[in-house]
C-alpha cells in the first residue's frame, strides 16, 4: 500500500450530503475485474453529459460544465472536501479506487459511511472527519479563494490552512501506523497466524457444526 505521511494539495468542494458510492462509481464500471483505471469514470453521471459505459473513450465525451470537478480552477485538485455521510450505500471498493485513480489522496468531511471509510484506509486514501464548523469554514474558503490548498500531516494529526489555522483530527492508532508505514494488512495479520490456528482449533471442538 502507498504510504501517507504529509500531503499538500489543491482542494475541491463537493457541496452535497449523502454522496453515495453509486454516484462515486456507477455500477456498469463494476464489471471490470481489475483494480485500476476507474478514475476517468469517477462521478460519471455527474461529470459527463452522455451515458458512460465501460470501454468508451472518455477523453472525447462531453463534460458537464456545471459539475465542480470539471471547473478550470479545480483542475489538479487532490483533496476532496465533502459534507456528511459521504460514501454511503454499497461496499464497492471501486469507489475509493476511482477517487484515488482520479488523483485524490485525502477526503475531508463531517462524516463518512463506515464501509467506505474503512475501504479508503486499505488504499492509502485518507478520510478525515472534522467538526461541522471547520468544514463550513473550509467550504467558504475554498469557494472564495482560487487555488486554495491545504496540508495534511498524518503523523501530527493536523490539517493546516494557508492562513496558519491548524485543525487537529482523530485517527485510530493502528490505521495511522499502517498508513504511515504503507504496511500491508495481510502481512500484519499473518504475524498472528499461530493465534488464529489455535482459535480455530478450539472453535472446531466447541462448535463443530461450523466446520462441516
Amino acid at each position: 500500500m502507498e504510504k501517507f505521511t504529509t500531503y499538500e494539495g489543491l482542494v475541491v468542494p463537493l457541496d452535497r450530503a449523502n454522496v453515495d458510492t453509486d454516484a462515486i462509481i456507477p455500477k456498469q464500471f463494476l464489471k471490470s475485474i481489475k483494480r485500476s483505471g476507474f478514475g476517468p469514470n469517477a462521478f460519471d453521471e455527474w461529470r459527463y453529459l452522455d451515458h458512460g459505459e465501460p470501454g468508451m473513450d472518455n477523453a472525447n465525451r462531453i463534460k458537464n460544465p456545471d459539475f465542480i470537478l470539471n471547473q478550470q480552477r479545480y483542475q489538479g485538485a487532490s483533496i476532496l472536501l465533502v459534507r456528511s455521510n459521504f460514501g454511503c450505500g454499497s461496499s464497492r471498493e471501486h469507489a475509493p479506487w476511482a477517487l484515488q485513480d482520479f488523483g485524490f489522496r485525502a477526503i475531508l468531511g463531517e462524516s463518512f459511511a463506515d464501509i467506505f471509510f474503512n475501504n479508503c484506509f486499505k488504499n492509502g486514501l485518507l478520510p478525515i472527519v472534522l467538526p461541522k464548523a471547520e468544514i463550513d469554514a473550509l467550504f467558504l474558503l475554498t469557494k472564495s479563494t482560487p487555488g486554495f490548498r491545504i496540508t495534511v500531516d498524518l503523523a501530527a494529526q493536523v490539517v493546516s490552512r494557508p492562513d496558519g489555522h491548524k485543525i487537529p483530527f482523530v485517527v485510530d492508532a493502528f490505521r495511522k501506523e499502517c498508513l504511515l508505514n504503507g504496511w500491508d494488512d495481510i502481512d500484519l495479520t499473518l504475524r498472528q497466524a499461530e493465534k488464529i490456528r489455535a482459535f480455530e482449533a478450539q472453535r472446531r471442538i466447541e462448535q463443530p457444526w461450523l466446520f462441516a
Binding site: D20, K31, N85, I115, F174, T189, I196, L210
Partner: protein
C-alpha cells in the same frame, strides 16, 4: 456483568486485539459473488498466498446474471467475463458450495446463504456486499466488506475490526394489516436518517420484530446498512430455530441439540447496557413509499411529497430540492397520485417466498394497469422460484400481467439488462433509491412487495389496505 447480544457475538470471535482496540475477528462464513471478488483472488495469487479455509466459502453469481433467455447465456461480454472469472477462481481454490449461473440453487447471495442453512446463529458472516447485514436476522455478526477485506479474509480467515457502539431499536406494539417488515424498516430510516446508525451495531427487538418471520427479519436487517449501520441483528428465538431445522448445511442429530442449546443463549441479557435506544410504535406505521434519492426521504402512502422549505438545515434543503428535481416531483403532491412506469419485485430485500406470496395475494384476480410498461417479478433464488411455482404463484403473476423471471439481483442495481430508461419511474421492492441506481436517469421509489403490486394495479402509488380490506 450483563451483556448485549453484540458483546456476546463479538467476544466469541476475537482472536487478537491491538493496543488501540482494533481486533482480529475470526470469520466463520465467507460469501462470495462475482463483482467484488476477482481483484481479491488476483491479489492473493500475486502475493503467492493460499486461502486459509475454503470450507468457509459459499459462492454464487448473482449481480450480472440475466433473468431471461438463459439458453443464450450471458450476452454482455464484460459481464460474462466477470462470471467466468468467478467460475475459474472457485474451480481453482474450492468452496463449501458453489451455485454457478443456471444452477437450480443459484440466486442472490443473501437469499441462498440462509436458504441453504449456510448462515447459522452465532456466526460471523462476511461478503463483499453491503447487504450482508441481512444475515443478522439469524443473530449473526454479518459485515459487508470491501474487496481488500475479501482478500484479507481469504488469506487469514479474519477481519480487522473495531468494536462499534451498541444500539437497540425496539419496535413496540403490532403492525396493522397490510403493513410489513419493509414498512417498519423504511419508517425507521425515515426517523433516524441514513446516517442514524453510523458507528453502531443495531439490535432489532421488541414485539413487532419478534412477530416477524425469518423472511421479515431478513428484510429489516438487510436495510440496517441503509440506516448507516454495518451490522444489524435479531436475537435467536424459536422462529430462528424452526427456520433452520433440516436445511442442507444446518447441524444434524447430536450437533443439532448442542447447537440449538448454544443458539438460545444468543440474546441480550435483560439489563444489558446499550449506547443508544430508539423506540418506534408499530401500530403507528402506515405503508411507506420513498419520494427522494435517499432511503430516508420517505413518506406514508397517506402523505405528500415535501417541499424544500420544510427543512431548516440549508444542506438538507438543497439536497431535497435536488432530489425533487431528479425525481421529477412537485412539492405537496399526494404520494398516491404519483404515476409509475415500471414495477420491480425482487432483490435481497424482498424476493423470498413470503414476499412473493404477499405480492401474489394482492395480484390475484387483478391486472397491471395499462400505463405500466413493465412489471417484473424476480425470485431471489432458484429454490424460491421452484417453491413459488409449486404454489402456483407464477400463474397468478402471469395472469395479472407481470413477467416471471429467473433469479438474480436484476433491476435492484441494473448490472444486467433489467433497468430503467432515463426518466422512468419505478415502484421497487429493492433497498436503494439513489440517482441512477436502477439505470441512468431512472427514478426509484422503494416500497413493500404488496404495495408494489398495488401500484402496478392502480398505475400509481396506492394504499394496499384499500385493496385487501
Amino acid at each position: 456483568m450483563s451483556k448485549t447480544l453484540y458483546d456476546k457475538l463479538w467476544e466469541n470471535h476475537v482472536v487478537h486485539v491491538e493496543a488501540d482496540g482494533t481486533a482480529l475477528l475470526y470469520i466463520d462464513r465467507h460469501l462470495v459473488h462475482e463483482v467484488t471478488s476477482p481483484q481479491a483472488f488476483e491479489g492473493l495469487k500475486l502475493a503467492g498466498r493460499k486461502p486459509w479455509r475454503v470450507s468457509s466459502i459459499v459462492a454464487t453469481a448473482d449481480h450480472n446474471t440475466p433473468t431471461d433467455h438463459w439458453e443464450k447465456g450471458i450476452q454482455d461480454p464484460v459481464s460474462r467475463q466477470q462470471v467466468e472469472t468467478l467460475d475459474a477462481n472457485i474451480h481453482e481454490v474450492g468452496a463449501l458450495a458453489y451455485f454457478p449461473f443456471k444452477d437450480k440453487r443459484q440466486g442472490i447471495v443473501h437469499v441462498i446463504g440462509p436458504e441453504q442453512g449456510a448462515t447459522l446463529p452465532g456466526m460471523t458472516v462476511v461478503c463483499g456486499d453491503s447487504h450482508t447485514s441481512t444475515h443478522g436476522a439469524f443473530a449473526c455478526l454479518a459485515h459487508g466488506i470491501g474487496t481488500s477485506e475479501v482478500e484479507h479474509v481469504l488469506a487469514t480467515q479474519c477481519l480487522l475490526q473495531k468494536k462499534s457502539k451498541a444500539m437497540l431499536i425496539k419496535i413496540e406494539g403490532k403492525v396493522g394489516a397490510g403493513v410489513t417488515a419493509k414498512d417498519i424498516v423504511l419508517a425507521l430510516i425515515g426517523k433516524i436518517g441514513t446516517a442514524g446508525g453510523t458507528g453502531y451495531a443495531i439490535e432489532f427487538g421488541g414485539p413487532a420484530i419478534r412477530a416477524l418471520s425469518m423472511e421479515g427479519r431478513m428484510t429489516v436487517c438487510n436495510m440496517a446498512i441503509e440506516a448507516g449501520a454495518r451490522v444489524g441483528f435479531v436475537a435467536v428465538d424459536e422462529t430462528t430455530i424452526e427456520y433452520l431445522k433440516g436445511r442442507t448445511f444446518a447441524p444434524k442429530a447430536a450437533d443439532w441439540e448442542k447447537a440449538t442449546a448454544y443458539w438460545r443463549t444468543l440474546v441480550s441479557d435483560a439489563d444489558a447496557p446499550f449506547d443508544a435506544v430508539v423506540e418506534l410504535d408499530a401500530s403507528e406505521i402506515a405503508p411507506q413509499v420513498t419520494w427522494g434519492t435517499s432511503p430516508e426521504m420517505v413518506a406514508s402512502i397517506e402523505g405528500n411529497v415535501p417541499a424544500p422549505e420544510d427543512f431548516s438545515d440549508p444542506v438538507k434543503r438543497e439536497g431535497v430540492a435536488r432530489a425533487l428535481e431528479y425525481m421529477g416531483l412537485v412539492p405537496h403532491t399526494p404520494i398516491n397520485q404519483i404515476m409509475i412506469d415500471k414495477v420491480f419485485i425482487g432483490s435481497c430485500t424482498n424476493s423470498r417466498i413470503e414476499d412473493l406470496r404477499a405480492a401474489a395475494a394482492v395480484a390475484k384476480g387483478r391486472h397491471v394497469a395499462a400505463n405500466v410498461k413493465l412489471a417484473l417479478v424476480v425470485p431471489g433464488s432458484g429454490l424460491v422460484k421452484h417453491q413459488a411455482e409449486a404454489e402456483g404463484l407464477d400463474k397468478i403473476f402471469l395472469a395479472a400481467g407481470f413477467e416471471w423471471r429467473q433469479p438474480g439481483c436484476s433491476m435492484c442495481l441494473a448490472m444486467n439488462d433489467d433497468r430503467l430508461l432515463p426518466g422512468e419511474r419505478c415502484a421497487s421492492t429493492s433497498n436503494r433509491n439513489f440517482e441512477g441506481r436502477q439505470g441512468n436517469g431512472g427514478r426509484t421509489h422503494l416500497l413493500s412487495p404488496a404495495m408494489a403490486v398495488a401500484a402496478a394495479i392502480a398505475g400509481h402509488f396506492s394504499d394496499v389496505r384499500e385493496l385487501t380490506s
